[in-house]
């Protein structure tokens, strides 16, 4: 087994018999079989958490693999939600959902591309970039509130459930929770596989190099700002796409979907789940979001507080999140020591 396929932590993991891929398959089987045993609310809510998880994975790509932190992913997510809402409102030919699924990632990528071009090319500090992403989140929320003639303002916007139109004229309605559960699951799995593949490609390896030592990467001949912009565009596109799918699933989009609090929660999920691990980000999101939903019903005022405290603790103590902490003991994920970005 050559060093080709894995980082050192994964190799250690393999020796211990645990690997991310193995765990991923177990998780997939689990989720696929779940509707057989459970029904009702869980099947309804789980795809939404999975889509949050896609948002988290997009952040893991950006933060974990490229070393670029963004606290604005929710902004992209909300944009996606509003795009599909508007798509259903305004478009009466073809399948509005399909159109949204194309438009949304393009818009997300374009926004990220413009920002990335301006910021990375100028060589702005990582900290400034974080600020700009924060501003994105704030602006998205404010625009959603103020342009109420389109977005419904604080009252939000209702989005119908989509249907799958297959070429032959058949239409499969995804109105019921069961079928749409599987649709979302398929999409999420596809995105997961895409991301796993991406990080083993040349692009992914260069991103990793940029995270580790950007100057060295530049001095080897790579245009680092281009790679960073591309990573940001990918992550923006994914988050926006996830938002679009979320919009039709949840049936309702509101400005707080793009707000700063939500953006921060995404960072918390990824920080807990391990930003170097897509599976960690995904699962942590599902777990924490479920917990948060459950606990906020019991003690609504205290849950956000707990999130904030957990966030601080995680930043102070864990560098690789829980997946990273596990990595120290040999399971998947990578534990980083020393300087960071």
């Amino acid at each position: 087994m050559s060093a080709l396929q894995s980082t050192t932590a994964l190799q250690t993991a393999r020796r211990l018999g645990v690997s991310e891929s193995g765990l991923a398959i177990v998780a997939l089987v689990g989720f696929a079989l779940l509707p057989i045993f459970v029904s009702g609310y869980t099947i309804y809510i789980l795809p939404q958490y999975m889509l949050y998880g896609v948002m988290a994975m997009s952040l893991a790509l950006l933060w974990g693999y490229s070393g670029i932190l963004s606290i604005g992913q929710a902004g992209f997510f909300a944009i996606g939600g509003y795009i599909i809402g508007l798509s259903f409102k305004w478009i009466d030919f073809g399948n509005p959902a399909y159109i949204a699924f194309v438009v949304a990632p393009c818009v997300g990528a374009a926004l990220a591309g413009v920002l990335g071009y301006f910021l990375f090319r100028a060589g702005v500090r990582a900290a400034y970039f974080v600020l700009v992403t924060l501003a994105v989140s704030i602006i998205v929320e404010q625009v959603a509130v103020s342009q109420s003639q389109w977005t419904g303002g604080w009252n939000g916007m209702y989005v119908p459930r989509m249907s799958l139109t297959l070429g032959t004229g058949t239409e499969i309605s995804l109105f019921d929770d069961g079928p749409i559960y599987y649709f979302v699951l398929v999409v999420v799995v596809a995105i997961y596989i895409l991301l796993r593949w991406l990080v083993t490609s040349k692009f992914g390896k260069v991103l990793l190099g940029i995270r580790e030592n950007e100057d060295r990467v530049i001095s080897l001949g790579f245009d680092a700002s281009l790679y960073k912009t591309a990573a940001f565009m990918m992550s923006g596109a994914l988050a926006t796409l996830a938002g679009a799918l979320y919009g039709t699933h949840a049936g309702f989009v509101s400005p707080s979907l793009g707000g700063v609090l939500f953006s921060t929660e995404v960072v918390v999920w990824v920080a807990i789940g391990g930003r170097n691990s897509f599976l960690g980000a995904l699962l942590a999101t599902i777990v924490v979001a479920s917990l948060s939903n459950y606990l906020s019903a019991i003690a609504p005022r205290y849950w956000q507080l707990v999130i904030g405290v957990v966030f601080i603790v995680v930043i102070i103590h864990f560098r690789g999140g829980i997946a990273g902490a596990l990595g120290r003991s040999g399971a998947f994920g990578k534990h980083k020591r020393g300087q960071d970005g």
Partner: protein
């Protein structure tokens, strides 16, 4: 002789402080040259102007007939001018293999040949056995070699080596000298080497350029330089 690298009247000043003044320098393909001088003589700044990390205040740099003055670092590196830094700049959390791989990824090597290229480079720098090791666990000397390996993987044509033997034992220094000689001969590379170690420079048997206060004091072979009064004066006060 087609000049591989040429610096013309290269000058760099930082807000009044002149780091380099009117440097005229050239080196041909497959040639090695050592740059020596006391601290603050402007050696690193000079090399930085070639690699693109500093923009000259005046003068120009030409590489293979093209004016590369003021180009961004990555463009110059793409052209084959690659730099090894004073403090080893490697990817400490990645494995040795991955480090070299990044160098190879930066070259024009096609995907299916990459693996072979990495192994070959590992052999050149004698790090094959440590391929899976995390760089953090390497010795200082090994890290220097790793960095050189990265430059090799990138199929660099002009190596800019900033104190490659710093922190090395006498034995490692000797091996490094041999390594560079071998690479230059086998792969027809050029190298500009900033160095302090006298034995290394002597063994390398390459022309030497002495920098002092930002200017070229003199150039010649090691023997010519070593005996000169001025050179010794310039080094007075330096702990060697």
């Amino acid at each position: 002789m087609a000049e591989f690298l040429r610096a013309e009247n290269l000058t760099k000043s930082f807000r009044g402080l002149v780091a380099n003044e009117n440097i005229n320098f050239s080196i041909g393909a497959g040639e090695v040259c050592c740059i020596i001088g006391p601290n603050g003589a402007g050696k690193t700044t000079f090399v930085s102007m070639i690699s693109g990390h500093e923009v000259p205040t005046a003068g120009s740099v030409w590489f293979k007939g093209r004016n590369i003055t003021g180009l961004p670092v990555h463009r110059i590196a793409q052209m084959g001018v690659v730099r090894k830094f004073q403090t080893p700049s490697v990817f400490s959390e990645l494995s040795v293999y991955r480090n070299i791989e990044l160098g190879v990824l930066a070259s024009s090597c096609p995907a299916r040949e990459r693996h072979g290229r990495v192994l070959e480079t590992l052999k050149h720098v004698r790090l094959s056995e440590l391929s899976d090791q995390r760089v953090g666990s390497l010795s200082h000397g090994q890290r220097q070699w790793l960095e050189i390996g990265m430059l090799l993987g990138k199929d660099a044509q002009l190596l800019l080596l900033d104190e490659p033997t710093a922190g090395m034992t006498a034995e490692e220094t000797h091996s490094t000298g041999e390594l560079i000689r071998r690479l230059v001969n086998e792969l027809n590379l050029s190298a500009i080497i900033i160095e302090h170690d006298i034995n290394f420079i002597r063994d390398l048997r390459a022309p030497v350029t002495v920098l002092h206060l930002g200017r070229i004091l003199m150039e010649g072979s090691f023997e010519e330089i070593a005996g000169r009064e001025e050179v010794r004066e310039v080094y007075l006060g330096e702990q060697k």
